[in-house]
């Protein structure tokens, strides 16, 4: 049976190349046999040459293909090797170099789909032949395609003004290109601005962060939009339009000098559960912290006496420049950008969820973020480490690691920063209060430069380390010496016994979690989240800051828990990727796209919401769906879903897929022995 004849295709001259991939494929599949078989048995289907080679992707391997195209006048190429994810581009380029349209090449995955997943050599070899037969049958129906090219808008949108976003924005702006930095809170700075010290060097977080914040605020290439959120994103790589809601600050920023009198005079004090992590107060008109960038405050209408009760206006009366404006309204701004970097950060695990640790119930149980504020010289206690009463200094402090991390009841993953953060806390408590400090850990994880040295240092400072997961923090005293204390009940797994450690203060090193709205944000920007909500990178090792959506990059904790150096590195990496794009001025897009056959489309709109890249719109006039070719990534979801078969994909048309299936199935009826011509 010959699928080509049944489909009436013209006779192509096909070259087949089977890769050993060292022993990756050849260890399981009899590569030489497959190659010999294809050359003989599939000759009838148009195969004029079939070769095997140790590493097809090497330059020698590629040259083999180029030479054959020219000398044997090949019109199609089939490469049996690894997954197209890895080397499709390589072999397409080889075809192009040989003078063949690159899209006339088909890859058959003999590694991921055969050798890596099977152990029976004979069966694997037969399967390789079948898949190859499918590829040969299919390639005849490939069409020559030309890459599309789109211009790249020079401007970049950076979402999130923490350290990762700040780094990305500065790198791009310093290279001379415009950046819009959008931040939800009234000031940039993110979590790093809340910290007192940074591990392992213990340099002051504000001292190293504020210069960068100031640069962002004054950079001629950066437009800073704080107290703002991205509402909608349209367009595609090179040509995005982002709609940003600039929430009303109720301050005329042209007039505001940032003198802070409004804040000082505002009579309404509220608990600041964002910047002060609930441990301190702010006013209804406020800047989260003195070094805020921009320097302009915002009015929190939910707590403002004027907005709630209709009178007060103390800030307006006392503002020396008349900058308070109660009539201000939200503003929608449209930004045209070529690329987007998402650096939206993390939320702290809600320690209330682990009820047995008593957070929210026992006054002197603190979260890690609360402790950051407690130890911060600019925090609610001016950096004095005291208990919840605001004055007593603890004599003994317990620090519990892995709260909400490495725990199948909450999050399985390691939050990366907690060990080092806990060591930092231990050092600060010991240094400032002289208290006995106990760390309760599962494993100490102090990888990376100078981290383990810091651990050694803290060990030498006399901090206690108890290996074991804490069972309970309670104020139910049982033994002498426990009265009035918090008792940490733990199994010391080194001593092999239960211990009760009475302390005055407990710090819960709470894990990092994806932002509570991360899945909505991902959907808004057309990217994917892992099952627990972190943004998914294009490749976990080789492409960590790109996403499967062209033009959208990710950086910092939005991608997964990481420390400051790693966040900065990702911010810079994402910027470098964007700069590379900008400098190309134009971007060649894969021409593998879906398109709607207008006459067949019933306008049911089933495909509209299915598209993971938001590439399908609806033409109200003609009542049909339309695919934006620049946004389409050629995934084929819509093609499969269309009930009237009105969507076709280049490179995955029905004809191609059917031919592939026929080729595959034909193999089953064929003998492995050469067929006499």
């Amino acid at each position: 049976m010959n699928p080509h004849k049944s489909n009436g295709a013209k006779k192509e001259r096909i070259g087949v190349y089977v890769c050993h991939c060292g022993s990756n494929i050849a260890g399981i599949v009899d590569v030489e046999e497959v190659s010999r078989w294809a050359g003989e048995v599939l000759a009838d289907w148009g195969v004029v040459v079939s070769r095997d080679y140790k590493f097809m992707c090497s330059s020698l391997g590629q040259e083999l293909i180029e030479k054959d195209i020219q000398e044997l006048d090949l019109t199609r190429v089939v490469v049996g090797a690894c997954s197209p994810h890895l080397h499709e581009a390589t072999f397409r380029t080889a075809c192009a170099n040989g003078g063949l349209n690159p899209y006339l090449c088909e890859m058959v995955s003999l590694r991921e789909q055969v050798s890596w997943v099977h152990t029976d050599k004979e069966a694997a070899t037969e399967k390789a032949k079948a898949l190859l037969a499918g590829g040969v049958a299919r390639v005849a129906f490939h069409e020559p395609l030309d890459a599309m090219s789109v211009p790249i808008n020079e401007a970049t949108l950076v979402v999130g003004g923490g350290i990762a976003g700040i780094q990305a924005a500065l790198e791009i702006a310093d290279s001379g290109f415009p950046v819009y930095l959008v931040e939800r809170e009234p000031s940039i700075g993110g979590h790093m601005a809340q910290f007192d010290k940074t591990f392992p060097t213990l340099d002051c977080s504000a001292c190293i962060l504020t210069p960068k914040m100031v640069s962002v605020g004054s950079h001629p290439n950066i437009t800073l939009l704080t107290w703002s959120e991205v509402e909608k994103v349209d367009g595609y790589v090179g040509n995005f339009t982002a709609t940003v809601r600039k929430r009303a600050r109720y301050i005329n920023i042209e007039d505001c000098t940032g003198c802070g009198i409004c804040e000082e005079k505002c009579p309404k004090k509220v608990i600041d559960d964002v910047f002060e992590a609930g441990l301190g107060y702010r006013k209804a008109v406020y800047r989260p912290f003195p070094q805020a960038v921009p320097k302009y405050p915002v009015i929190d209408t939910e707590n403002c006496t004027y907005f709630q009760k209709g009178k007060c206006k103390a800030c307006e009366i006392l503002c020396p420049t008349g900058a308070i404006n109660f009539e201000q309204e939200d503003e929608l701004v449209e930004l045209k950008v070529g690329n987007i970097i998402l650096a939206t950060g993390y939320d702290l695990f809600d320690a209330r969820r682990i009820t047995q640790y008593g957070y929210g119930r026992l006054a002197n149980v603190f979260t890690s973020l609360e402790f950051e504020r407690l130890s911060n010289a600019a925090g609610p206690t001016d950096g004095e480490i005291v208990m919840r009463d605001g004055k007593s200094v603890p004599q003994a402090v317990g620090i519990i690691h892995c709260v909400g991390s490495r725990d199948k009841n909450y999050n399985n993953y390691c939050s990366v920063i907690c060990c080092m953060q806990s060591l930092k806390f231990a050092h600060l408590v010991e240094e400032r209060t002289g208290a006995e400090v106990y760390n309760f850990y599962i494993d100490m994880r102090t990888a990376f430069k100078d981290y383990d040295e810091f651990y050694q240092r803290v060990l030498h400072e006399g901090v206690h380390f108890i290996r074991g997961r804490v069972a309970e923090v309670t104020d139910a005293a049982r033994l002498p010496g426990e009265e009035g204390k918090l008792i940490i009940q733990v199994e010391d797994t080194f001593m092999g016994e239960q211990r009760r450690i009475p302390v005055d203060m407990v710090i819960l090193s709470a894990g990092l979690e994806p932002r509570s709205d991360s899945t909505e944000v991902a959907h808004k920007f057309g990217i994917s989240c892992s099952h627990n909500g972190w943004f998914i990178e294009k490749h976990p090792k080789l492409d960590p800051v790109a996403t499967m959506t062209e033009g959208i990059f990710i950086a910092g904790c939005a991608q997964g828990p990481k420390d400051i150096p790693a966040s900065v590195a990702q911010g810079a990496a994402a910027a470098a990727r964007v700069l590379g794009r900008i400098q190309q001025k134009e971007l060649a897009l894969e021409p593998v796209r879906a398109s709607v056959i207008a006459e067949k489309c019933s306008g049911c709109r089933i495909c509209n919401d299915l598209c993971p890249f938001n590439a399908i719109g609806f033409d109200e006039e003609q009542q049909i769906s339309e695919i934006n070719p620049a946004l389409c990534q050629g995934c084929g979801t819509c093609v499969a879903a269309c009930p009237s078969g009105a969507i076709t994909g280049t490179q995955f048309s029905d004809r191609q897929v059917k031919a592939q299936l026929e080729g595959l199935l034909a193999f089953a009826t064929m003998s492995s022995e050469p067929v006499a011509a």
Binding site: G278, L279, Y281, T355, R388, D389, D475, A476, A477, R478
Partner: protein, 327 residues
Amino acid sequence: MKQYGYYPGCSLERNASAYDKSTRAIAPALGLTFNEIDDWNCCGATEYISLEKLPAYALVGRNLALAAEQADNGHQLVAPCSACFLNLRKADRYLRDSPVMARQINEALAAGGLHYEPGSIKVRHLLEIIVDDIGYEAVAEQVQAPLTGLRVAPYYGCLIVRPAFDGQFDDMEYPTTLDRLMSTLGAQVVDYPVKAHCCGGHMTQISEPTALELIRRLLKSAADYEADVITTLCPMCQLNLDAYQDAVNAYFGTDYQIPVLYFTQLMGLAFGLSPEEVGIGQELVDARPALAHIGAVEEEAPAARRRPSRKKEEGLPMPVMPEEKTR
């Protein structure tokens, strides 16, 4: 009227008869009808299942089969005793998970002309149906004599929230439903840190010093929080805390006098029933002195709370709990 099958279990006929009495006494006010399973047998308590699995499950299976047979009582079976509740729920779950055991048990049940289809009866605890099916608001509507001024330590024991054999109606480590129920009655609930700790169970029979230590912890914590009364939902817990209080005092040289009452007894009192109607007086540590000041609305709540109040301006703010936020 909500209909439930009712499985009192052995304890409620003897030492915990006050539990049974008060449960039946409050049922009409809450619109509950309890239809006692006819011809029920012992649940095997906590020991039997660890000794001989098959007969133990057959014992429980018979009760489930009877409940299913008498299912015009509704397909829900209420057990006020924590051990009965756990055994019934555990057996139903294991029979669902193990078709082999289900077949064996049914072979045994066939001798008595019975059959049980695992999963056909939903086993509930009394507290669970009161807070989930009836709800705090409906309970509040029935309160005629609020327990104002009575400091109550809510004690859950270990069996009702864990293990979660068939879903869970409260937090495993720090349950709060009984706390809320007691506040609904107007009582002053103390944040009882050992509320889900073990009462010692039958350890009193095996190693008395171990049991007395466990009981002492519970009494001590209640005394530290100046609770007038401990309220419980399990006959075993009530027995250990109440009957062994003297033994604890003798062994440790303490002087605890804390009455231990079933939550249904306190509900009954709040609903305006007389102490006799809810079985007050059957406890060994006399509850009457503690209950004497119920209803003294003017009386100031005891000031001796050991915890700093939450919104002291000079101190640091306490973390806001999710419920408080939504309020």
